[in-house]
Structure formats: structure tokens, C-alpha cells
């Protein structure tokens, strides 16, 4: 045992093994003849740093909760409440075309003023958050199902943009020269493109055609927004990847791979891309938050998810019509967007600090 190890053992005994493990970035395991130092892996260190960030953990838990609520909870609540998110109820709208308020119970009558046959009262319907507007749909269920569309857009657009970004950035950074020049100019073109105007034009020209593409599981209009957002948001990951690859391609391990005859594609795939995972994970969490906001914004402008598919954006878009009489209609989807965006940003911050502790200083 070296003097240093002896010192570490003494410290471990006095201040606790956890702290030393953290300080050394190593596991102190008991052996027959005392402590054995096993070096910690990269991901183990990241996880250790990350789990110390309670705020980021909270963000992660919130995201898991939102996913569970939207994708698992929504159908369960629909079953419990006995109706779907798109069902219209005459009794859920007042004669003044106003939606019912939160915690409303009403009779499911076929038309206003209908009299139930003796002994067969109309089924009672319960809307926990009231109705969504003059169509008389359940705001609570639409909020839950809306989470599906909003998160599908956010995650889908993020995945596509990151994949495109990694491909474009890797090619530009690895090959350099003319290829870099071309890819970089395309990147700048995309960066400078007026995205919102383009999406509004796209929705006007090909909206119905694109909206009908659901791939069997997406809501109407979700695919359109995923395509539109991802096509115009890959430039940021591409620039980050390019910068990383420009540095990595000069490293010895890349040189070694070349010497043993590895192809360019293999070098990029097997040696460079793994080094990009950390920044891409951090970027992904931030992009997801931005995409949730973008979906809400585009749907608010009427070029997003198509009714009756609910999304937080479409719920927000409908709410202003009632803002004087039923202002809380803006509150529910607004809170959902706020909480989701905040959770993803906090998670992203925590991951960034965990992957690169220097950035926290």
C-alpha cells in the first residue's frame, strides 16, 4: 500500500468512503487485505455527479410522470370517466355558449331540455376540469391526450433533428475542405430561414395532405409539425458536432483506426459518434423543451395539430375565445407547457453539469 493510499484510507475512515470515492472518482472496495481501489467508469462518474443534483432529478421525475400521465394515465382516466377526449356533450355548454367550469357533473341528455324516461335517468357525466369550449368536450381528458401529441412532436422533432445534425456535422467536421464548406453553407441557410413563415405557407399549401399522414399512431397534424420543426432545427446539433469532430479527428485513436484500415464510415460511426453522446443528450433535453413551446406556438397560430386531435397548443389556441368568462381554460395547458419546458430545461442543466463538471464552475 502506498503512502497515498494509506492517506486515502485514513481519510475514508474519518470522513466517510462516499466522499473519498467522489473525490477520487474510484470505488473503494473491501478486500481481505484492506481497501482495493477500482477506477470508476465515465458513465458511473456522470451518474454520481448527476444524482447529487436534486433539482435535475426532480426535473427527470417530472418528465417521467408527465409521460406516464399522458400515455398511460390518459386511457385509464378515459375508461374511468366513461367517455373519450373527442366526445361532444350538449350538457357541457351553457345556453350562452360558455363551457362548464371545473368539477362539473351533468346529465348526458340527447338534447337540451330532453326529459328522461321514468326509471331511466340520463347517465351522469363528470368533467374534472370542466369543458373545453362551445363544443363541450372534457378539458381534463383533452389535456392528458394533448400531452401525447405535444410530447410526440417534441420528442419526434428532437430525434430527427439530432440524427440529421449528427450526420451533417460529422461529415462536415471529418472531411473538412470543400465538403465542410458546402455543409456549413447549407447549415447557415437553414439557420437563417424564416421557419414560422415557411410552416404557415406549408400548412396552407399542403396542410391537409401532410395532416393525413399519421403513420398509424400519430394524431392528425403531428407528422407535419415533426417534419417542419426537425427540418429547420438540425443546424444547431450540426454545428456542435462539427466543432467536436474537427477536434476529435486529429486524436491518436482516430489516427490508429485509420492505420489499421478502418473505413471513414466506420471511424465516424464507431470512434467519433460515441464521443458525441454526452453533448447530444444535453442538447436533446433543451431541444425537447423548445419543441414543446414551438408546438404550442404553431398550434396557437392555427398551423399545428389538427382538431379534434388535442394538443396543449390547440387547447391554448381555443382558450382566448373565453378569456373574459372562463380564464382558467388558458391556465391548464399553459401550466402543462410551463412544467414540461421547465422540467426538460432543469434536466438538461443537470446533465450538462454531470457530463462536464467544469461547466458548472
Amino acid at each position: 500500500m502506498s503512502l497515498q493510499e494509506q492517506h486515502d484510507r485514513d481519510v475514508a475512515v474519518s470522513v466517510g468512503a462516499e466522499a473519498v470515492e467522489a473525490a477520487l472518482g474510484a470505488d473503494l472496495a473491501h478486500a481481505d487485505d484492506g481497501f482495493v481501489v477500482a477506477p470508476l467508469g465515465y458513465w458511473h462518474q456522470v451518474w454520481r455527479r448527476f444524482k447529487r443534483d436534486k433539482v435535475a432529478i426532480g426535473g427527470g421525475i417530472t418528465i417521467v410522470f408527465l409521460f406516464l400521465l399522458s400515455f398511460v394515465g390518459a386511457p385509464i382516466f378515459a375508461k374511468l370517466l366513461g367517455h373519450g377526449p373527442d366526445e361532444l356533450f350538449d350538457g357541457a355548454v351553457t345556453s350562452g355558449a360558455l363551457p362548464l367550469g371545473p368539477w362539473s357533473h351533468f346529465a348526458n341528455q340527447p338534447y337540451v331540455g330532453a326529459v328522461a324516461p321514468p326509471g331511466h335517468p340520463f347517465q351522469q357525466v363528470f368533467f374534472p376540469l370542466g369543458s373545453d369550449g362551445a363544443q363541450g368536450r372534457d378539458e381534463f381528458l383533452r389535456l392528458l391526450y394533448g400531452g401525447q401529441a405535444s410530447l410526440e412532436v417534441a420528442i419526434g422533432a428532437m430525434l430527427v433533428s439530432i440524427v440529421i445534425g449528427i450526420i451533417m456535422g460529422s461529415i462536415a467536421g471529418y472531411y473538412g475542405g470543400f465538403v465542410d464548406l458546402i455543409v456549413s453553407r447549407i447549415t447557415e441557410l437553414v439557420q437563417a430561414f424564416p421557419v414560422v413563415l415557411f410552416i404557415i405557407a406549408l400548412a396552407a399549401v399542403a396542410g391537409p395532405q401532410l395532416s393525413s399522414i399519421t403513420l398509424g399512431f400519430l394524431g392528425k397534424g403531428v407528422f407535419t409539425i415533426i417534419v417542419a420543426l426537425s427540418v429547420f432545427s438540425w443546424f444547431y446539433p450540426a454545428r456542435i458536432v462539427r466543432a467536436q469532430v474537427l477536434s476529435l479527428r486529429e486524436k491518436e485513436f482516430v489516427e490508429a483506426a485509420r492505420m489499421v484500415g478502418a473505413s471513414d464510415a466506420r471511424i465516424i460511426r464507431s470512434h467519433l459518434v460515441p464521443h458525441l453522446v454526452a453533448p447530444m443528450i444535453v442538447l436533446a433535453t433543451i431541444v425537447v423543451g423548445q419543441n414543446v413551446l414551438a408546438e404550442a406556438g404553431l398550434s396557437f397560430l392555427g398551423v399545428g395539430v389538427v382538431d379534434p386531435t388535442p394538443s396543449w397548443g390547440t387547447l391554448l389556441a381555443q382558450a382566448p375565445a373565453y378569456y373574459l368568462e372562463v380564464p382558467w381554460l388558458m391556465l391548464w395547458p399553459g401550466l402543462a407547457v410551463l412544467i414540461t419546458t421547465l422540467a426538460f430545461n432543469l434536466l438538461g442543466d443537470g446533465l450538462r453539469d454531470a457530463f462536464d463538471p467544469r461547466s458548472a464552475r
Partner: protein, 543 residues
């Protein structure tokens, strides 16, 4: 000194009194001047006029503007109720002399009438209005109304350059018809026939934005999509009201914002009526109905879903009847808010149905999807066209849900403004069912049946027959009903309405709408002009 003071004090008192009286009179004069000559600001939520050119204007808001700027041969007075529906001479000195078995109308035009640029109004200006309307380059929507005027068809078909059936003879203006038309005088109240100054109104297919007016006001300026300004015609000597000197219309405003700005007095009103359905109940509670600021009046109007009989989805009578059972009329109407209208399943509004209004041919209390499915078990894909306002989207959502419940697969396409009518009015348009509404051009049922359901009027473009129904039996019955005059006329059309709805079902009639107007706190003089189906802008003034 003392001697002089005894009369100085009373003199001073008199002088002060005279001064005070003068000030009071001046203040009063200023007050009444502001009443009679202020500027009224209007916010037109989500809408602009289609045209300001009287040969082309064909929207409710456009006709409100034209009503203020046009000098008609005969017109409806600026009064509400029954009095507002009584025709009276306007540019004509008296009602026309009808001769030649009802085929010749002779008007004597008043002397001394002037356009806003000072030019004198003459019978030739009415002749030019007809020639301009009929000119094929103008593509005026008036043509279906005047095919019975001698020579119109020749001009439309480019066989002649002038309408031979209209002529000026001194102060007389004469119209010759190919056959008697009992509705001609009512038709002449439409802005298409108002006096237009030939030198200032060339043939222009795009329509003129500004032109001299011979009515109480003239169009001083127009920036399409943004603003329109009316100013008092300085040469107008008639008895129609013009209680504000200027009217400024800001177009395409936001509906909620406009509502708030009317509430706080920034705008006098939205000339299109209250555009925030959810506010109606609160306004009625706060101000009462037809008392001070919130006004509700029935329109001679029908909101309906046109079923495109030329396309497969609703090509069969069974499918069209199924749609009539599928749609939840109360829900669609309820979206209009408190006092939005009354539901119906027939074509004609109550005032034109000759006692046949209110027959519940289809389910008017709610949807009956089971019956719809029974009638049309294989509905298939349906293209639903509608507007893009908040209200339109709500109504589209309800109808889409109703049709889906009845087994249809519905795709919704939304349009802004008048674009839907341009698209749907083109023969072969790819819609199966579309939201539409028809407000009377003039109070006669032929304005519904002749324009909207007579298949002989279907052309390549600009069609109003949005059901594209061309049924020989219906066309024959329209002719038969149209030949009847007097009290039997409305009854004949009422019967035809029931027959058409039952045997052809070209529409899913939803409701007969009410116009709800909301005016600012500093505005008075509200009058609902029933024949024009809108608030009378000329009677409004600032308090």
C-alpha cells in the same frame, strides 16, 4: 363717483349676464355640432368589404356602406320595424308608372340631385349603372337578377354593347322588361342599380375603390384590408340622415379586441354585429335587450350546410336525408351564443315562408345518428368546408363529430373571408358539404329559390347554387311559384320549401340568425334597418 356707480353696477350685471348667455349658446351650439358632425370609428372584426364598387359589392358590410353612399331610384327608409320595409321613392320624384302590362317602368328623376364631386345626377347615370352591371368584363353578380331586362342577355353574351331595355328621356328613366317582374322594385333597391357618374366610373373588372357618391355619404378613401373612410356628401340635399361627418372603418380587427374597444368607447360598434358569441348573455343581462347598448333583431336569413349533389358523398337523396338527421342543430346554433337565432330544418326564413315555417321535417332538437346510419350505412369520406374564425371552427368541430358519429370519415378544410365562396362557387369544387348562409337581397322568396336552388343558373364560376342541384321538377315548381303574385306568393313558396326539403334535401338548414349589435357608451341613434338586415350607419351619432 358715487353718482356714476349706481348705474355702473346694474350695467355690469347685464354685461355679465349677456356674456354668460352667449357662452351658454356657444357651448350648446358646439355640443350639438359634435352630435351632428363627429367622427364615428368602427372596428370590423375579421372582415373587410368585398368591394366598394356598386357593380361588384355583394356582402352585408359592403351593402351597409353602399346604403349610405348610393342614390337609388327607390329605397327603404332609415327606419326600423315595418316602416323600414316600405319602399319609397329616393332619386325618383314618385313611385314609377308601370305600363305595358307590367313590362315598362317609367321613373321621373328629381332635379337638383348631385354627386359628392358636384356633378348633377341625371337619368343617364342610372342607364350607365345598368350598362356597367351587364358589361361582361365587370363579371357583376347582379346578372341573375336582371335577365328579364330587355337587352341584358345580349350584352352579357357580347352581342350588344348597351342594354336596349333601359333608356333616359329628359328627366325620365325607363326600364323595359321581357316579362312582368313583380319583384323589380325590390330588386332596384340593391346597390347594383344606384346612380354612377359615367366620367368617374369606367369599366374596371377589379372594381373601383373610391367613386363619387350621390347618397348622404361618399367613399373618401379605401385601403383594402385595412381602412375605409366615409365622408358626408356636401351636395346631398335629401332627407336621409347623416348624423356624423365622417365614418372611419378599421378592417380585419381582432374580434375580442374589437369587443373590448366598443366597450370602452374607442369604437362606436362593429358594423358586422357582435362577433364574440360568449359575450351576448352578459350584455343582455347588463344592458337589457333593445334598450340601450345591446340590440337583437331577427334577420331574414338562413344558415345552412350545402350538400354538394354533384359529388358522390351526397349525390343520393338518402345520403342527404341522413346528413339532415346526423347534424345536431341546437349544438351548432348554440355556438352562436345567447340569442344567436332560431333553429330550422327548412329553407325559407319565417318572414318569407307564408306560414309554413317551423315544420320539423328533420330532427331539430338534436342529432339522430342511428337514423342517419340507417339511411346511409356507407357514408364514406366527406370533405367539409368552412370558415376559419373561432365560431366557424367550433361549428365545424360539431358537424365533423356528428358526421363521424353517423359513420362518415370527415376532412375539414378552412377558408378565410370570402375565399370559400370563390372556391365553392366554381363548378366541380371538391367539397361534399359546406357551411353557408344566405341573407335576403330583397324581401322575396325568389331571392332564395331563384338564386340558390334553380339549376338553370349554374355556371362555370361564381355560383350561388352551392348544392349544385339542377332538378327539372324543382325548376318547374320555382317558375310556377314565381308566377304567383299577391298573398298567395309566399304560401306557394312556403309549400315549395316543404316539398324541396322533403323530396330533395339539398341543404341541412341549421338556423335563422339574429343580428346582435353592441354599440359604444358614447353612441346613440341606433336603428336596425330590416330590409338591409343591418344597423343603419347614417343614424348613429356621438352623444
Amino acid at each position: 363717483m358715487r353718482k356714476r356707480l349706481w348705474y355702473t353696477a346694474p350695467l355690469s350685471l347685464i354685461a355679465v349676464s349677456v356674456l354668460a348667455a352667449l357662452l351658454a349658446v356657444t357651448a350648446s351650439a358646439q355640443s350639438s355640432a359634435s352630435n351632428a358632425s363627429g367622427t364615428l370609428n368602427f372596428g370590423s372584426a375579421g372582415a373587410d368589404v368585398d368591394f366598394t364598387d356598386p357593380a361588384l359589392a355583394y356582402g352585408v358590410l359592403s351593402w351597409q356602406i353602399e346604403y349610405e353612399t348610393c342614390l337609388q331610384l327607390v329605397n327603404y327608409p332609415d327606419k326600423t320595424g315595418a316602416a323600414g320595409s316600405q319602399l319609397q321613392p329616393d332619386a325618383a320624384a314618385a313611385m314609377p308608372v308601370i305600363s305595358n302590362g307590367g313590362k315598362t317602368y317609367t321613373f321621373t328623376i328629381k332635379k337638383g340631385l348631385k354627386f359628392s364631386d358636384g356633378a348633377t345626377v341625371s337619368p343617364a347615370d342610372f342607364v350607365w349603372a345598368f350598362n356597367r352591371d351587364a358589361n361582361p368584363a365587370m363579371q357583376s353578380p347582379v346578372i341573375p337578377f336582371i335577365t328579364d331586362v330587355v337587352g341584358v342577355n345580349d350584352v352579357v353574351n357580347k352581342k350588344a354593347k348597351a342594354v336596349t331595355g333601359v333608356k333616359a328621356d329628359g328627366q325620365k328613366f325607363i326600364i323595359n322588361l321581357t316579362k312582368p317582374d313583380g319583384a323589380l322594385l325590390a330588386k332596384l333597391t340593391m346597390p347594383f342599380f344606384c346612380a354612377v357618374e359615367r366620367a368617374k366610373t369606367p369599366i374596371d373588372p377589379k372594381g373601383l375603390n373610391t367613386l363619387p357618391g350621390a347618397g348622404p355619404y361618399y367613399i373618401a378613401s379605401r385601403t383594402p384590408g385595412k381602412q375605409l373612410v366615409l365622408k358626408k356628401n356636401p351636395f346631398y340635399k335629401g332627407d336621409r340622415p347623416a348624423r356624423s361627418s365622417t365614418m372611419v372603418f378599421t378592417m380585419n380587427t381582432n374580434d375580442q379586441q374589437t369587443y373590448l374597444q366598443v366597450t370602452n368607447g374607442t369604437y362606436a360598434a362593429d358594423p358586422n354585429g357582435l362577433d364574440v358569441p360568449t359575450a351576448a348573455a352578459g350584455l343582455a343581462k347588463k344592458y337589457g335587450i333593445n334598450k340601450s347598448r345591446f340590440w337583437v333583431n331577427s334577420l331574414v336569413e338562413t344558415d345552412y350546410l350545402a350538400l354538394n349533389t354533384a359529388n358522390k358523398a351526397f349525390g343520393s337523396l338518402a345520403a342527404r336525408k341522413a346528413a339532415n338527421y346526423a347534424v345536431d342543430r341546437p349544438a351548432v346554433l348554440r355556438a352562436r351564443g345567447f340569442e344567436g337565432g332560431v333553429r330550422t330544418s327548412t329553407i325559407l326564413p319565417k318572414a318569407l315562408a307564408g306560414g309554413y315555417w317551423g315544420q320539423k321535417i328533420y330532427a331539430t332538437k338534436g342529432a339522430d345518428p342511428a337514423k342517419a346510419k340507417q339511411l346511409n350505412p356507407n357514408c364514406g369520406h366527406v370533405n367539409l368546408w368552412g370558415g376559419n374564425t373561432t365560431l366557424a371552427q367550433t361549428q365545424e368541430g360539431i358537424v365533423r363529430y356528428n358526421l363521424t358519429q353517423a359513420g362518415c370519415d370527415v376532412t375539414v378544410k378552412q377558408f378565410g373571408g370570402y375565399a370559400i365562396y370563390t372556391a365553392a362557387g366554381t363548378k366541380g369544387a371538391d367539397f361534399d358539404i359546406m357551411f353557408s348562409g344566405w341573407n335576403q337581397d330583397y324581401p322575396d322568396p325568389i331571392d332564395f329559390f331563384g338564386i340558390l336552388l334553380d339549376g338553370r343558373n349554374i355556371h362555370a364560376q361564381n355560383n350561388n347554387n352551392l348544392a349544385y342541384i339542377n332538378n327539372a321538377e324543382l325548376n318547374k315548381k320555382i317558375d310556377q311559384a314565381n308566377a304567383i303574385t299577391g298573398e298567395g306568393r309566399l304560401k306557394a313558396f312556403g309549400k315549395l320549401d316543404i316539398w324541396t326539403t322533403t323530396h330533395l334535401a339539398p341543404w341541412v338548414s341549421i338556423d335563422n340568425r339574429n343580428l346582435r349589435d353592441y354599440i359604444g357608451p358614447n353612441v346613440a341613434g341606433y336603428v336596425f334597418q330590416p330590409a338591409k338586415a343591418a344597423m343603419d350607419l347614417g343614424t348613429l351619432y356621438l352623444k
